[in-house]
């Protein structure tokens, strides 16, 4: 019994192809023959006809044909299918024998050659006696043949040759050995293929013809055999549809056979073969569902046909093979383009095959546990004379016996024993693992990660059984995290248990400890007694002793393991194992929690480490240390067994190293933060808990950050969701779930104990030296040193503000652009307790708007915290928002000498510039002086003296000035003529004497200057008196370079009588002036209209009276006649 007993025979699995033998080719020594043979063999792609060729000598002996049976009446078949049959028709009995012969049509010795050829054909025919095998002759010719019909000799000789060889004309071929060899060969091949098909057709007919002789009682086996043969020949004929049909019939027939324990194996074997063929053809026909349905049917039919109970492992092996073969077929079909889906892919079949292989192993284990003394029987009952069985699926010791009764029970017993003993040597695990790994590959392809994990677990377990613990561990370790991350604790526990066994048997210390840790943890679903055992073992290991063996381990393996453990003990070396817990669920849980999210630097930083053990018995730990991002703190946060004085305060010293199961242990740590860490985050980077001691073995559990393992985040989420009320616990105990990890805290500076006050008078005025008085008072108990003041514009505001804001300590001088916006670290000195100091700051704001100012006072102070002197830097800052406003608004207007508004001024004619200073400041302003700086184009008419010196303006008050100016003619200037600047020097009235005066320069508006042809001005007194003469003199100035004709008329007025020229026409020479004198005599008192002077310029028609009225008064106030005579007025009259 070979290990491949259950493998399907090769001839079954291959694709049957027509078998054609070629004779008369000397492929070794003859180059031409070699070329012909190569052309047949090489490049057999799918487009070539399916033929398998074989070169044989012409006198080859083909299998003998048994004499034809004339009657089946007395014939009793001995089995279903002979083992040699398929091979015979695939490789031994040809459908066609081709005789190659070198013969040209113009061969001189034609006769001799012809008869030699005929002899060769005859020899072949001899050896094929009784078979329907066709014979064909191929003449290898050197010359290219002429087209058919043209070569008379050829057709004659061909006919003669056919006659001589007893061949039909269709079986004679000519192969010219020319350039187009491959083309000729392909044509030959096709012709051979036709012959072969005819041959198989006749074979099918022949087999079918037997049918009528058969009867159902004695020839049941033959029904199956014939049906199978027909199907097989159909396949050889490449008629797959009929082949499938016949196989299906054969399959049904096989199940109609009477089954008994003795022949069940034969039936199953044949059923398996036929099923394989059907499935194969279904896949080939691209009907995978048919294939699957057939397979399901097959399995359902055969599942229960176990056969002999003593050999039930054979059934399992067979079942396994069925699934595997189907999986292979399925996989092959996929490779050829079939698409499988997640729920229907070859993986399932491999998986099932593996399952049956496992079952086979189990059965074999229970059935083949013979004692060592039982020897393999001699003579070997499994030996046959030929070395092979005659029929598929029969027992070697009773071949061909169809009786259901065991004729020789003794022989049967020996045979069974032989099979059982052989089965014992089968490497079951290897088979299982191969199948599982096939399945894994498939499930990986079809997106089944969990199925894959499951199969890998099985593989791992199988490796464990096969004692390959390294591989087992590797696989189990690989999948563990999948189950852990999804929280399937039951499954994880089962995997861990196996892994623990592996690591025990290999004495892998670290793995052993890791798995123990997790099996003791809360994720483990082990019973308490199991946990106790594991914990005891773990403690043993930590004390450098051997653990007890795991239960259910192989006794021999345990022995080896015990030796290994003993070696481990004696072996000195690294006995400290650091195990990172973030990837698993150990039995100690840890949470770190700072008491506050931030600590002042003068206060000790406090945090708790909470520990909880989930193991069944209390466990001692030897050391706990906490690491921080700043490693300098690490030294303060260590608890060690040996050391006595420690930072741990709350817990009673004895037993604090002992973790009681289920109880939360709180350990308080305190340390003083470094002053350099002010403003930084202190983070717990890891917590290390050492179990065991360094003299024995030591396991360091390492939690990253503030604790937490693979399961804790989900638990925390659940705890957060929960609204369950927790039972009350004694004061110093807490609920584990209610502890939230806080692994980092901020160190912030000490709270300052000083007061900073700002005194100022907002708003600030543009450009003024705004005074800000900072008062710092110390409330500290000790002297404070190194007080520094930083003041100015708060950084981070608009960049333009920085340009336009300047800060200085000296108010006596105006600051310019070079002064900064922020004064930093102005040393102020030291302050004694209660002492107060004042500092004046001056701010100059160049633009309006609001600004934030910052006053920041820092100082150093010596503090004692936790009996340690530290220098703390404290600071206090004040911000203030100051609005800057314009101190005043300046309005400027141009008016005529009559105080009438002017849009433009007239060249050479005096006008008035009026400035109006309106205070917008809420505080009183002192205008120290004002100054008018005229542009060169302007001239002044009188003295430019400031009229507002030392005027104090309250809010809303205004100060006006008036200057009389004249602008000489400049011609037409685009955009007007610059007037000059108006400079106001001012300060706050409240400002101190030494505060500099601010000069605000205002650029006066440009003015449009226009020339006029004639300027008229009048000389008249400021008032008149009733019935007193009022002399008026009009000056008419020609401003042009022409002689001007002027028409003047005076219109009478009711209020006046007058003397003078009433209407006149005169000429005024260029640049000269004409005077007109009138004497008005007022008749009425009051504000009276003067007799209006109308001037008409003949040259300038648009010089209107309207314009004229700007220059000359139109009315005058007339006083009534008084009692007291005024001498002067009389004199004037």
């Amino acid at each position: 019994m070979s290990p491949t007993q259950w493998d399907l025979p090769v001839e079954l699995c291959c694709r049957p192809m027509a078998f054609v033998t070629l004779t008369g080719l000397d492929v070794v020594y003859n180059a031409v023959h070699r070329a012909v043979w190569d052309a047949f063999c090489a490049n057999r792609r799918a487009d070539r006809v399916p033929i398998s060729f074989k070169v044989l000598p012409g006198d080859h002996e083909y299998p003998k044909c048994r004499p034809k049976r004339t009657s089946y009446e007395w014939y009793i078949p001995k089995g279903i299918l002979k083992t040699g049959w398929m091979n015979k028709h695939l490789n031994l009995v040809p459908a066609l024998v081709v005789v190659f012969y070198e013969l040209d049509w113009d061969e001189p010795q034609w006769k001799e050659k012809q008869s030699e050829c005929a002899t060769r054909v005859e020899i072949v025919r001899q050896s094929l006696q009784g078979r329907n095998t066709k014979v064909a002759v191929v003449l290898i010719q050197k010359k290219t043949p002429l087209p058919p019909g043209e070569d008379v000799i050829a057709s004659e000789r061909a006919a003669a040759l056919c006659n001589a060889c007893e061949l039909s004309g269709k079986s004679l071929f000519v192969l010219p050995h020319t350039d187009h060899l491959v083309g000729y060969i392909i044509r030959l091949e096709n012709a051979f293929y036709e012959h072969a098909q005819t041959y198989y057709y006749t074979e099918i007919r022949r087999v079918k013809s037997h049918k009528e002789f058969l009867n159902k009682t004695t020839h049941q086996l033959l029904f199956v055999r014939h049906q199978f043969k027909i199907a097989f020949f159909s396949e050889l004929k490449q008629d797959t549809q009929n082949a499938l049909k016949n196989y299906r019939t054969a399959y049904n027939l096989v199940h109609e056979l009477r089954a008994h324990e003795t022949n069940i194996l034969e039936i199953k074997t044949m059923a398996g073969f036929i099923n394989y063929k059907i499935c194969r053809l279904c896949f080939q026909h691209n009907t995978p569902l048919d294939a699957i349905a057939q397979f399901r049917k097959h399995i359902d039919l055969c599942k229960k046909k176990i056969g002999s109970a003593e050999l039930s492992f054979e059934h399992a092996a067979w079942m396994s093979k069925q699934f595997q073969a189907f999986g292979d077929l399925f996989d092959e079909a996929i490779k050829l383009g079939l698409t499988a889906i997640q729920t229907q892919n070859p993986g399932f079949y491999y998986q099932q095959a593996a399952y049956y292989a496992q079952e086979r192993k189990q059965l074999a284990k229970s059935l083949c546990n013979h004692e060592a003394s039982i020897m393999y029987p001699n003579p070997d009952p499994l030996e046959t004379q030929t070395g092979v069985l005659d029929f598929y699926g029969q027992r070697s010791w009773r071949q061909g016996i169809l009786s259901f009764d065991l004729s020789d029970p003794e022989k049967e017993k020996v045979g069974v024993l032989a099979i059982q003993l052989k089965e014992r040597n089968v490497a079951h695990s290897e088979i299982i693992i191969t199948l599982l790994s096939n399945a894994v590959a498939q499930f990986k392809k079809y997106k089944c990660p969990r199925m894959k994990s499951h199969l890998m677990v099985q593989m791992g377990e199988e490796y464990y059984y096969a004692k390959d613990y390294t591989k087992a561990l590797k696989l189990l370790d690989y999948v563990m995290c999948d189950y852990r991350s999804e929280g399937w604790w039951t499954l994880l526990t089962s995997i861990l248990t196996t892994a623990l066994k592996c690591s025990y048997l290999m004495a892998q210390l670290k793995d052993y400890i890791t798995y123990s840790l997790e099996l003791l943890g809360r994720a483990s679903t082990l019973k308490d007694d199991q946990k106790s055992r594991i914990e005891k073992n773990l403690i043993n290991v930590l004390m450098n002793e051997s653990p007890d063996p795991e239960p259910d381990c192989d006794i021999f393996a345990v022995k080896t393991a015990q030796k290994l453990w003993a070696d481990r003990i004696s072996l000195a070396g690294s006995n400290i194992f650091t195990i990172g817990v973030q990837d698993f669920v150990p039995f100690v849980q840890c949470k770190a929690k700072f008491h506050a999210p931030s600590f002042h630097v003068d206060v000790p930083v406090e945090f708790d480490i909470y520990l909880k053990a989930d193991c069944p018995h209390p466990i001692r730990f030897s050391k706990l240390c906490v690491s921080f991002n700043n490693q300098e703190y690490n030294q303060f946060c260590v608890i060690e067994e040996a050391s006595k004085a420690n930072e741990v305060l709350e817990n009673p010293t004895q037993g604090k190293m002992c973790l009681v199961p289920g109880k939360t242990r709180k350990l308080l740590f305190k340390f003083v933060a470094k002053t350099e860490d002010v403003g930084k985050k202190i983070e717990i980077t890891s917590v290390d808990l050492a179990l065991g001691n360094e003299t024995g073995r030591c396991v360091v559990l390492n939690w990253q950050g503030g604790g937490g393992d693979a399961a804790s985040s989900q638990e925390a989420l659940q705890a957060a969701r929960s609204f369950k009320r927790r039972p009350k616990l004694p004061d110093n105990e807490v609920h584990w779930d209610s502890i939230i990890i806080q692994a980092s805290t901020m160190i912030i500076s000490r709270v300052p104990n000083i007061s900073v006050h700002l005194r100022h008078e907002p708003p600030a005025l543009t450009n003024e030296m705004y005074c800000l008085v900072v008062t710092v008072q110390s409330h500290e108990k000790t002297q404070i040193r190194d007080v520094k003041l930083t003041a100015g514009l708060k950084p981070g505001q608009d960049a333009n503000l920085t340009q336009k804001t300047h800060v200085t300590l000296h108010g006596t001088e105006l600051c310019d652009e070079s002064y900064p916006a922020l004064l930093t670290d102005i040393p102020v000195g030291d302050l004694h307790p209660g002492e107060q100091l004042e500092k004046m700051l001056y701010v100059r704001c160049g633009t309006v708007g609001s600004r934030m100012f910052l006053v920041y006072v820092s100082y150093l102070i010596n503090i004692t915290a936790e009996e340690k002197e530290i220098v703390c830097k404290c600071h206090k800052d004040e911000t203030v928002t100051i609005e800057t406003v314009f101190p005043f608004d300046v309005a400027v207007k141009f008016v005529s000498t009559k105080f009438e508004h002017l849009e433009r001024v007239y060249a050479d004619i005096p006008f008035l510039l009026m400035t109006d200073l309106l205070s917008a400041s809420p505080w009183a302003l002192t205008v120290v002086s004002s100054e008018l700086q005229l542009a060169p184009s302007m001239t002044t008419v009188d003295q430019l003296e400031s009229q507002v010196d030392n005027v104090v303006l309250q809010t809303g008050e205004s100060a006006s000035e008036c200057f009389c100016l004249r602008c000489p003619s400049l011609g037409n200037v685009e955009g007007g003529v610059a007037t000059g600047h108006y400079i106001i020097s001012w300060k706050r009235t409240s400002a101190m004497e030494n505060i500099p005066v601010i000069r605000t320069v205002i650029t006066l508006p440009h003015v449009i200057v226009e020339n006029i042809p004639l300027h008229v001005n009048a000389d008249l007194p400021s008032f008149g008196r009733v019935r007193e003469s009022l002399p008026v003199k009009y000056h008419l100035q020609n401003k042009t370079d022409f002689v001007q004709d002027v028409e003047i008329s005076v219109e009478p007025s009711d209020a006046f009588m007058f003397s003078g020229l009433k209407q006149i026409r005169l000429r005024i020479l260029p640049g000269t002036e004409q005077e007109m004198l009138y004497n008005f005599y007022p008749l009425m008192a009051g504000y009276q209209q003067l007799p209006s002077l109308n001037i008409n310029l003949l040259r300038f028609p648009n010089f209107t009276n309207q314009l004229l009225r700007r220059f000359i008064p139109t009315s005058i106030f007339v006083k009534p006649q008084g009692r007291l005579m005024d001498d002067t007025s009389i004199a004037a009259a």
């Binding site: 399995i299 997640q342 729920t343 399932f348 099932q352 399952y355 997106k447 089944c448 990660p449 969990r450 199925m451 499951h454 677990v457 189950y483 999804e486 929280g487 399937w488 039951t490 499954l491 089962s494 989900q714 989420l717 659940q718 969701r721 929960s722 609204f723 369950k724 009320r725 039972p727």
Partner: protein
């Protein structure tokens, strides 16, 4: 009837698994776990479908040689997986559907339990459900009562302690129940006292 029933949380960890042949529990655990592959695939495939048109019943997840595994997913992505013996031909799709629907109702009842924290493993006597459900119909009505009963989680120490009994009872009184089963072990004389 089902041989194994499992309730799987949204995050794919088991909330509840019970199987009838208890000797090979692990096998069913693996079976349920591996079936999640198909469930995941089905859920992601129907992710695009409109929520209200979504079919909760996922149908047969995959057949094994001896068992059929069926799936069902609630709108909150809690999955129910039911393993049925392949040989049991009495259970058609419709029966499976109605079993799932009843299971869903029972699950809803559990969720309504004020003492149950969603996401916790279900450890109530509701556990008996798949085992006793020999035929869809009668036993289920009993199961429903049992599941109401389950609102008093047996495992929780709080609710078992004698001191907290009164408080629970008063809460209990708020639930609209008329069944005498729910009267509980110690009837309350003054319901206000507990509140």
């Amino acid at each position: 009837m089902a041989v194994c029933i499992a309730v799987i949380a949204k995050e794919n960890y088991p909330l509840y698994i019970r199987s009838t042949p208890t000797e090979n529990e692990l096998k069913f655990h693996y079976m349920v776990h591996t079936s999640l592959d198909v469930v995941d695939e089905k859920i992601s495939a129907m992710g695009k479908a409109l929520v209200d048109q979504r079919e909760l019943y996922l149908g047969l997840l995959y057949p094994t040689e001896d068992y059929k595994v069926y799936g069902y997913v609630t709108n909150s992505k809690v999955k129910f997986v039911m393993v049925v013996d392949s040989s049991n031909t009495a259970l058609r799709d419709n029966e499976i559907r109605s079993m799932f629907r009843k299971l869903h109702n029972s699950y809803t009842d559990v969720m309504c339990n004020p003492f149950y924290n969603p996401g916790d493993r279900i450890q109530s006597r509701w556990a008996l459900l798949p085992v006793s459900a020999s035929s869809p119909g009668g036993p289920y009505s009993r199961v429903r009562i049992q599941s109401r009963w389950a609102l008093l989680p047996v495992s929780d120490p709080v609710q078992v302690g004698p001191t907290s009994c009164v408080r629970i009872q008063s809460r209990w009184a708020l639930l609209p129940v008329s069944d005498p089963v729910q009267v509980g072990p110690t009837p309350v004389s003054d319901p206000v006292q507990g509140l």
